[in-house]
């Protein structure tokens, strides 16, 4: 199969879906410019022009409500935020309107708004330009929330989102944008609520999301060198969450490490641990480990930023730990997965 970059896959899905469905409109700050949402909106603008690919004012709050209003009249707005952090300002429209619409108006129809948020990563994005809001959105019934970790999923989940009657939040890590992978040419939907076994293994389960899936894969490689067989599960969608794939894997391996791009408290890693504690409690042979952000805002300074983000090595160390091994085992240096995102900004 031909390969595409993650950002190219998003751009392709957008164009294909917009061609197939005239109700889709793309809106976002600066989506029509030479950078085109890091290349994710450039083609759409070229093909569909300014009426369907709209550069909008800096008005995240109203724009969320505007998107819902347009959806209530049959449009399918796809809204892009250059940083997921700006979506705090869109939260009222997303949570209080979009997520609840179908229910609170008596199940007469939904408002299929799709909102993409790009999670900043690297080059000192800092405390307010790098937050991962998936568990926050995932707390609220009425939304679908997904965090594609591969080019194929970036395309397939966006295709699902744009064909769906449920509002969707897609959180894309900027650190994945330059990653290449096989992507089907046709717009094949990846369903919400279905995880993916990225790599099978028998000794320990690593459940991960977004960029951490890539790091988990590399961690599994490191562990394999030490004859440890790690199974890597990509949840893909945060809501609905594929409980079965998690439980089946843990039932097999008996060990669980969860790797997330966000903080531990009330995050994805907590939820995965809870799902296991509820459903396959007896299968667990040891404690669960959460590999998450240290409990502080994101720093800017390069060495701090490096230390801040979990990676293959920290994931592998956590696996060794739950297996009762020596977690300080020296492991070789690895290049930064997000190396594609370098300065100058």
């Amino acid at each position: 199969m031909r390969k595409l970059k993650y950002r190219e896959a998003i751009g392709e899905a957008t164009v294909q879906c917009m061609k197939a469905d005239p109700r889709i409109v793309l809106a976002g700050q600066n989506v029509d410019d030479h950078k085109g949402g890091h290349g994710t909106t450039t083609d759409a603008f070229r093909v569909f022009g300014p009426s369907r690919v709209l550069d909008i004012p800096n008005s995240e709050n109203a724009v969320a409500g505007i998107a819902v209003g347009a959806a209530s009249m049959g449009m399918r707005p796809l809204v892009v935020h250059a940083r997921a952090d700006f979506m705090f300002l869109a939260m009222d429209g997303l949570i209080n309107l979009a997520a609840k619409w179908r229910y609170m108006y008596g199940d007469k129809g939904g408002v299929p708004v799709v909102m993409r948020g790009i999670v900043g990563r690297g080059w000192g994005q800092g405390a307010t330009h790098s937050q991962n809001l998936h568990s926050v959105f995932g707390h609220f019934p009425g939304l679908y929330v997904a965090t594609p970790a591969s080019p194929a999923d970036a395309k397939g989940l966006l295709v699902s989102a744009l064909r769906n009657e449920t509002p969707v939040v897609l959180l894309e890590n900027r650190g994945l944008y330059e990653i290449e992978g096989e992507v089907p040419e046709n717009p094949e939907p990846v369903p919400f609520g279905k995880g993916r076994i990225v790599r099978t293994g028998s000794d320990v389960t690593i459940v991960a999301a977004s960029l951490m899936v890539q790091e988990a894969e590399r961690a599994a490689g490191l562990l394999a060198e030490q004859a440890i067989s790690a199974e890597v599960v990509d949840v893909r969608s945060i809501r609905p969450l594929d409980e079965a794939i998690i439980c089946t894997s843990v039932a097999k391996t008996g060990r669980l490490v969860v790797a997330d791009t966000s903080w531990a408290r009330y995050g994805l890693a907590a939820e995965v641990a809870a799902v296991v504690a509820e459903n396959v409690h007896g299968a667990l042979l040891g404690p669960v480990r959460r590999v998450t952000l240290p409990d502080s805002p994101a720093p800017v300074s390069w060495p701090l930023e490096e230390a801040f983000h979990p990676n293959a090595r920290t994931i592998a160390a956590a696996c060794l730990d739950v297996l009762g091994g020596d977690p300080t085992l020296p492991m070789r240096e690895m290049t930064d997965i997000t190396a594609g995102f370098v300065g100058p900004y």
Binding site: I56, A62, G69, M73, D92, L97, G106
Partner: protein, 321 residues
């Protein structure tokens, strides 16, 4: 029926509905949903909605009964909604602040301030994109005009020249807070709308004929592709902010102030305006009152007999089924 009379009749209907429901709400304690009565403000919803076409749509805030009924919402379904019944317009899921009647173009009431403004701008944007000759109307209060979304939505609508009619129902209060505590002295909301290059007017919101005339002009303006239009309508809420009671003795306003507005009751004003041409208008109004009283009592009886939603359906509508 002649247009002037129709407007009056519609106001009488909404008044009767709300008065009957307010009494029952207070006495029965069975409508378990926070309810914001619009008694005294009927001219706004009636004058504006009568100017809208069937394909035009409306959104409003928490003070929802007037716009819902004026835009053709079914009374029976509204009453059932207040009683939390499965037959309610929102299936008992939404309550008073989430009335909806998509078939007649009343898309929804919302409980968070200013959401109705953004929503209507979104609808107007959709109409502009489709080139549809439709207008989106939003009703909101003076208090909602302080929210950031007000600014963002007006700016968006004006920039996109979306066919949106903004109707600011200025009753001088946000709950108990008077306008002067919340907005700069000597300024007006309609003039702020001018700052977006928008056609904007202020007028007496208790004069249904003036409201209707202005709204007709505004709707045509929007429909003609000339961009959004803003109307600030001065009016007054008679009852407490939320709930069925009178609250003029709670300190935040005076009985004298209320009395002065009751003098200017929109129904009284309209009837007086029609009395020259229709000397028997007062009797006609009295007849309508009886008619509507019966209509709402029938709706109440029916709603009470209706079933509650089944607990087994608790999750229905959370997601597409």
């Amino acid at each position: 029926m002649e247009s002037g009379k129709r407007l009056l009749r519609e106001m009488v209907r909404i008044r009767c509905v709300e008065e009957v429901l307010a009494d029952l709400y207070r006495d029965e304690q069975e409508m378990r949903t926070p309810t914001h009565f619009s008694i005294g403000q009927e001219a706004v919803a009636v004058g504006v909605c009568a100017a809208a076409g069937p394909d035009d749509v409306a959104y409003c805030g928490h003070r929802s009964h007037g716009p819902y009924l004026a835009k053709g919402g079914d009374l029976r379904a509204m009453v059932a909604e207040l009683y939390g019944k499965a037959t309610g317009c929102a299936g008992g899921r939404g309550g008073s602040v989430h009335l909806t009647s998509p078939d007649t173009g009343f898309i929804g009431a919302t409980a968070i301030l200013a959401e109705s403004i953004s929503l209507a701008v979104g609808a107007g944007w959709a109409f502009a994109l489709e080139g549809a000759p439709r207008v989106a109307i939003t009703f909101f209060g003076d208090g909602a005009a302080e929210e950031g979304a007000f600014h963002e939505a007006l700016n968006f609508a004006a920039t996109q020249r979306a066919p949106v009619l903004f109707v600011c129902e200025n009753n001088g209060y946000s709950i108990s807070s008077p306008l002067r505590a919340r907005q700069p002295y000597g300024t007006t909301i309609w003039e702020r709308a001018r700052g977006y290059g928008m056609a904007s007017r202020q007028l007496d919101g208790n004069d249904v004929f003036a409201v209707h005339a202005a709204a007709r002009e505004a709707v045509e303006w929007c429909r003609d592709g000339r961009g959004p239009y803003f109307l600030e309508l001065r009016t007054y809420r008679w009852r407490e902010h939320v709930g069925p009671n009178w609250d003029y003795d709670e300190g935040y306003r005076t009985k004298a102030e209320l009395d002065s507005w009751m003098e200017r009751c929109p129904i009284k004003v309209a009837a007086a305006g029609l009395s020259a041409a229709h000397p028997d208008i007062d009797e006609e109004v009295a007849g309508w009152r009886r008619e509507f009283r019966q209509e709402v009592l029938d709706a109440v009886t029916a709603a009470k007999a209706d079933p509650f939603p089944a607990v087994a359906d608790l999750l229905q509508g959370a997601y597409e089924s």
